[in-house]
Symmetry: C2
Subunit: 710 residues, 2 copies
């Protein structure tokens, strides 16, 4: 903590406004009520009851007192600096209220009120007016349409969430949620598990402060070890990427659930938050690229948060499974392999040592089955977990057992001993666990999951994060060293084939030799030079659908056919569109290689220029097997894209084909990514489709590029 | 119940032995101990304490009394008929013990003892000896290496499972598990949810009685509404299919979790149970074909069991989602679509009616967001759920809310009112629910799930089961009408191309015209008749790899090339394998169509002849996108196979291609399935690869068949 936190936050400076939001030294509640069951009374009650140490100022012109506190007619009447204002007024009064806060110099307000952009166009306009007034007055806003926030370290209960009705234990997890009701449920589930949330913030409509800005401030707190987030529609892709970067630098994992993956989901998200759901497949790619763990749902998120906040990072993906039940071992081994973990057979030495401690009807391979005998002999558990984790191929362990109502103390004791004696991370999977056992282990900082699959999934996330972090550290310098090409750009609209060639050349993107010709003689000459067979295509800014126009002729095998084709294409084009400007006919060689690939660029509304990669044919057209990333990319990131394709085995060679030129393909992905980054806002779309991959070549065969205005 | 149950079960008759196992009127415990904490004492204690109404006979030569009961030196000394014997003796004593039971005329025994096939070859031999002795004496066996069974209706606690340490409430779910420890955990989880298990049976090694036989008897009990099973390695495919059929006839759903899906999993299953894990993809196909719901894991299984045992079957796949949180609605809508449910936009009339009861900041489309307002006004919930379910496009509903500690009674009351007033099924998803609320709803027969995704998944299973049942009812007569072809079969080994042609013709499987020729003249004549281009292939029982032998020449476009090719192929073959018997050269036409398909048959060790179908190319070779079914198939089942392919869109036409001849393909699948069924044990393998699909044709282009001994 610097001296800064001791001085009054400067008007409108975001960092200080965020500090004031999350750790205010004084709070005014505008619209406070003395009925503590009401939304307008609950924050007052919570702040009073739960030990908030700052000053509390209820504002209500119709009251003398709110509970034990003096009520003020307006903020101006408060003779103190206010760090945070809570607005609990009808939407119609919020605009004036924000103006008053600006006049008073209040740096930040959280707005509970609903009746803004979530209602549609009229509400959106009013919300914009409120934001404009806030900007003018130097007030930052959290919400509107949110249920506030909790800083459980300093007992800041600026919320009317049901979650605050009981204790809100503090802990190393910072939780930020766009949904109030669902966020409340998640927080309550965390509390039931004994997981403490250092922060709980509901960002609501995010008219001003975004999820990313608030999460960034949350994880800046040294007491916070990781962030957990619930997202419905992301605003500000750059902020989000900056947050991911900040979290990686700090070594604080982020785990997020985002809804709105599909059609009906996206429809509901739009009607609910008024925010753009964005393209989920892009979000997914950007999240993976930046080392954020994505959780499927609330329980998955909490499982991961629990493991992340308890375990250190494993050094590899080898998992050791130890159970009292062969069946649970099989279930976990199945799942481990499905989610990319390795279940190594233990080394002969390890197996021999285990054989000495485990009954004969157990198993020592991995999964290790210690049998129910460990209940009578806890030392058996201690020794076998130690042996399993000591195996050089095991990086992380799961210890599975069930019930044991009568043996809670004994089990907790031996698990604490294990934790003290091993260096590799492990988690406990305790099915139908007695609550006392779960809470006792949590208190000891041991992660305890409730089922075999959830345990494996959470460990997989831990392994995945560890690997992402290793990669991120190794790639930092490569990323910084990326140099963008200087481009000589044509104007807005569809880029001609030959202008495309220039751009590809400026970026070092390998493409098929391409010559523009304006007569049959020139075409024949070009074809003779390129070598047969060749392809001829009409070149005209006015003809987009070349094949439809009879403007494409393939596999021309000699000069006579080329001359004939030139004339035919020109004639077809004139007939197809009499007024079209015809720049001539492009002559192209045929590419070698017989595996098709596709690379594309597009300008995502949230994240800006993103790159797409996928294998051609049914994989992309039927199975939509594509991967997105934000540009530009280093080689490692491009390789990750290929490894994320379901059909990646095609690249290694199938049906008797040799492997494709992976290195050349990775170079091309990187080069296209640099093109995308250099284009920036000028990018509309680019498709390299197909790219032909051979054993030693990766060659763009066709390209279509559109530019936006400069 | 017939009079049969009142008389002594006949020696060795399976049905009566199963009755004696699950509802014994007298039980002998061999190896009973008076230490009630021990495995050998616990069943005695449980039977005494929990109200078992039958006669209990402890057998222990070293004791006078076991607890309050007289102990007997051996079974012969018991002056009564014994329905069930529990064996709790060291493995070495089991063989003699089983002989004594045979002499006494005891129809069935459950063997707790371990030390049999789970230990490997020696144990397997001993287990076989025990089974042989049991067969000889007319004794059926459950186990060994199991922890027994519970019939909670009649308080038969023939078990040492921890699950029996507390109450074992009865209910409409019958649970049979191959794993003891994991099964115990699942039973305990069910109890925590308030789900009663009418039966709990652990089948252990299944040396004699199988999972399927026991589950069959369980669901024969009219008090049982559905079966839940946990499987590690299935024995007896025919029994399993018969069980599925019995369950469908009775209208009692079966839900099963099976482990051993992948490599390391299968390894552990083998070391654990000594049972053959089988090919999981075959199991999966057979299960779907026969209307069994497969659950991913224990919680998924219990979610499904809960919904199945509470809800009637929906008439379609339209789901209505009603929440107090937009976010939860989005999450559920996403998931619903992922698992094949439809989330219909509600009709304008429904939306208008909802608008009258729901606050303005809610949503009425679907998901319906009633907002938190329903807490103050439960009638809002009642009215809006009724309106949503009344929408003609909605077949089943989910009602989502969270927490509500202070409102449990009110909510339970309104949900019961809803149940009483609606006709369509619905489930409650109550996140972070107070336990009292969950148990109160369960008592009312209302399914209550703990999370958005689990709720959707369980409803999806209900919808899936309803659809499978509708299909099963519609297909019953078609299945019965299937007529198997009469086959004229060659001897064991690889079937020659021309013998293959005969078999395909006998089954009505469309294949490419194929002529065997023994001279260049004949080949030329055949080619002229078939039309060009043609393919020539060597025909020899001694050359399996024809291409490698230079024995295949493709795309021959005229007579001269055919003559040349004939001579070249014969010469190549002689050179490749001088002693090979050369029957000549086969001439084939080229098939029309440009979509490749593959159909195969194989003899599965568990299920017998099964058929496989998949799209050619990367879909089958890289993504292993194939579907299996047990033969023979009716047309509906063949259509289901196509619909289960991930790449099924290819069949509808991609990249500008027209749809393929789906009807012809379905006919071919059916015809091949009949061939497989007719081959029966003679089947080794058959591959039709490729089959070329065109707009109006489905033609087998190449086939390889191997037969087993007659």
């Amino acid at each position: 903590m610097t001296a800064m936190t001791q001085t009054r936050p400067l008007k409108g400076e975001a960092k200080d406004a965020l500090k004031a939001l999350l750790a205010p030294r004084s709070i005014a509640i505008l619209g406070a009520s003395s009925d503590f069951r009401k939304v307008s009374g609950r924050p007052v009650k919570h702040l009073l009851d739960k030990g908030y140490k700052g000053r509390i100022y209820p504002v209500n012109p119709r009251a003398e007192m709110i509970g034990p506190l003096k009520a003020y007619p307006n903020v101006a009447a408060i003779d103190d600096d206010i760090d945070l204002a809570i607005i609990v007024l009808p939407a119609s009064e919020v605009l004036n209220c924000v103006r008053e806060l600006g006049a008073k110099g209040v740096p930040v307000a959280v707005i509970f009120s609903s009746g803004f952009s979530e209602l549609g166009d009229a509400g959106r306009k009013y919300e914009q007016d409120v934001v404009a007034a806030a900007r003018e007055g130097g007030v930052r806003l959290c919400g509107p349409n949110c249920l506030g926030l909790i800083n459980s370290f300093e007992s800041v209960l600026a919320t009317f969430s049901q979650y605050a009705d009981s204790d809100t234990p503090s802990g190393p997890i910072g939780f930020v949620t766009q949904s109030g009701a669902f966020g409340t449920a998640i927080a309550a589930l965390a509390r039931r598990r004994g997981l403490g949330l250092g922060y709980f913030v509901n960002t609501g409509n995010e008219a001003d402060l975004t999820f990313s800005e608030i999460m960034g401030e949350v994880i800046r707190d040294p007491r916070i070890k990781m962030g957990a987030g619930y997202i419905e529609g992301l605003k500000g892709g750059e902020d989000f990427v900056a947050l991911a970067e900040q979290a990686m630098v700090a070594g604080k994992p982020l785990v997020m659930t985002k809804v709105g993956r599909l059609g009906a989901g996206a429809r509901a998200a739009a009607s609910h938050t008024g925010s753009l759901a964005g393209d989920d497949v892009v979000f997914d790619g950007v999240v993976r690229q930046h080392g954020i763990i994505r959780a499927r749902n609330e329980e998955h998120m909490l499982d991961i948060a629990e493991v992340m906040s308890c375990c250190k990072l494993p050094e590899g993906n080898g998992i050791g499974l130890l159970t009292q039940s062969g069946g649970a071992g099989v279930l976990m081994a199945d799942r481990a392999q499905e989610v990319g973990l390795s279940v190594p057979v233990l080394q002969p030495e390890t197996q021999a040592a285990l054989q000495k401690v485990i009954p004969g009807f157990g198993a020592v391979g991995n999964p290790v089955d210690v049998t129910g005998q460990f209940v009578a002999d806890p030392n058996l558990l201690l020794e076998s977990v130690k042996l399993m984790l000591a195996d050089p191929n095991v990086d992380v362990g799961i210890v599975w057992f069930q019930l044991m109502e009568a043996h809670v103390d004994k089990l907790v004791k031996v698990l604490v001993e294990i934790r003290d004696q091993v260096t590799k991370p492990f988690v406990v999977c305790w099915v139908a666990a007695p609550e006392a056992g779960v809470l006792a282990l949590r208190k000891e900082g041991i992660a305890v999951l409730r089922g075999a699959e959830p345990a494996v999934d959470a460990v997989a996330a831990l392994v995945q994060y560890a690997e992402m972090r290793r990669k991120w550290l190794a790639r930092r310098e490569h990323k910084k060293a990326i140099k963008l090409p200087k481009l000589d750009l044509p104007s807005k609209g569809v880029v001609s084939t030959m202008d495309g060639v220039k751009l590809l050349d400026q970026c070092g993107i390998v493409h098929i030799p391409t010559v523009l010709t304006t007569s049959a003689d020139e075409a024949a000459k070009a074809a003779n030079k390129l070598g047969y067979p060749v392809v001829l295509k009409i070149e005209s800014p006015d003809i987009l659908h070349k094949t439809e126009a009879g403007g494409v002729m393939l596999r021309l095998t000699d000069e006579a056919k080329v001359r004939q084709a030139f004339d035919a294409i020109m004639a077809n084009a004139k007939k197809y569109k009499p007024n079209a400007r015809l720049h001539g006919v492009v002559v192209q060689a045929m590419a070698s290689g017989d595996t098709e690939f596709v690379i594309g660029l597009q300008n995502d509304p949230v994240f800006g220029p993103v790159i797409m990669a996928g294998l051609g044919g049914v994989l992309i057209e039927v199975l939509r097997d594509v991967v997105f990333r934000k540009v530009p990319l280093c080689e490692g990131e491009a390789a990750d894209m290929l490894d994320a394709l379901h059909g990646k085995a095609v690249l290694a060679g199938v049906r008797g084909r040799p492997p494709v030129d992976r290195k050349g393909l990775i170079e091309m992905i990187c080069a296209v990514s640099r093109l995308g980054a250099a284009l920036g806002p000028r990018l509309s779309t680019l498709d390299l489709n197909p790219i032909m991959l051979g054993e030693t070549s990766a060659t763009a065969v066709d390209w279509l590029m559109m530019l936006d205005e400069a």
